[in-house]
Symmetry: C2
Subunit: 133 residues, 2 copies
DNA sequence: GTTCGTGCAAACGGTTTGCAACAAT
DNA sequence: ATTGTTGCAAACCGTTTGCACGAAC
């Protein structure tokens, strides 16, 4: 696992303690956190970070393609450390978001949608996480 | 085409001029409007409508399953008069949303996602509308 | 006359921005 | 010296809410 410092350098982002803390959190969680969840968790390590810095950093990371922002939750943007193509499951009750591996689902037909230049697509599945198993 | 008044009655919603105006607009547009776009358009017919009434009405229509709200645009909820299952195309540049008929795409594999009870799923396609044809 | 709907304005929650202090180069 | 980064507070934008007035049963 590449450390946050060299990762930031590799992406041409000046590494600061705040940015390192954000990257360390956001790249090591499977939760798809909103900005405020990132803030909350980053403050555990780095209690002085401001909300603005977290927002700025997250936007910067998105811009530099280190993470992606996703429109999955009503009212808030969530951030996704997974850069590779994948689908999403959204839990109806908790709103929790789980990655679905790309090969778990296959979409047929998008290649002959006339009139559209497809840049990307994903399946969004909603429902409940099963209690059993 | 059923008129707005009887439609509202059929869904157990007390018909008022404002609600009729909202329904008439939102059920006859292919654009997937945000609340403010609804407000703007409804005001052409009914210039006194308030923002609150539009929001209240839209939420009521969603609750009564006359329309659906969709999380497709960053920062705002859009409303979709199409109740049947379908997919969505989102234009990268304009943000414009277009319905993709259910049968145009086929998703394979969602039935054997272990650990999830699937309530619904849809494909979200992003890209550009092609200029040609 | 009680219930329901409306319009206004204030409140709210997530996000962005302006700015002054402060590194880093 | 210049440029970039931070933290704070204010601004912003979409949405919800409290409330008084008015309409409908």
């Amino acid at each position: 696992m590449e450390d946050a410092l060299t990762l930031l350098r590799r992406f041409g982002i000046q590494p600061t303690p705040q940015r390192i803390a954000v990257v360390e959190y956001v790249l090591n969680t499977a939760a798809h956190p909103a900005a405020d969840e990132v803030l909350e968790n980053v403050r555990r390590k780095c209690p002085t970070v401001s909300r603005a810095t977290v927002y700025n950093t997250l936007n910067l990371l998105v811009e530099k393609r280190l993470i992606r922002s996703q429109v999955l939750r009503e009212g808030t943007t969530v951030f996704d450390p997974s850069i590779e193509k994948h689908h999403h499951f959204v839990d109806d009750e908790s709103g929790r978001i789980v990655d679905i591996p790309w090969k778990a689902l296959k979409v047929i037909g998008q290649e002959n949608l006339r009139g559209f230049e497809v840049r990307e697509y994903q399946v969004i599945v909603r429902g409940r996480r099963r209690k059993t198993r």
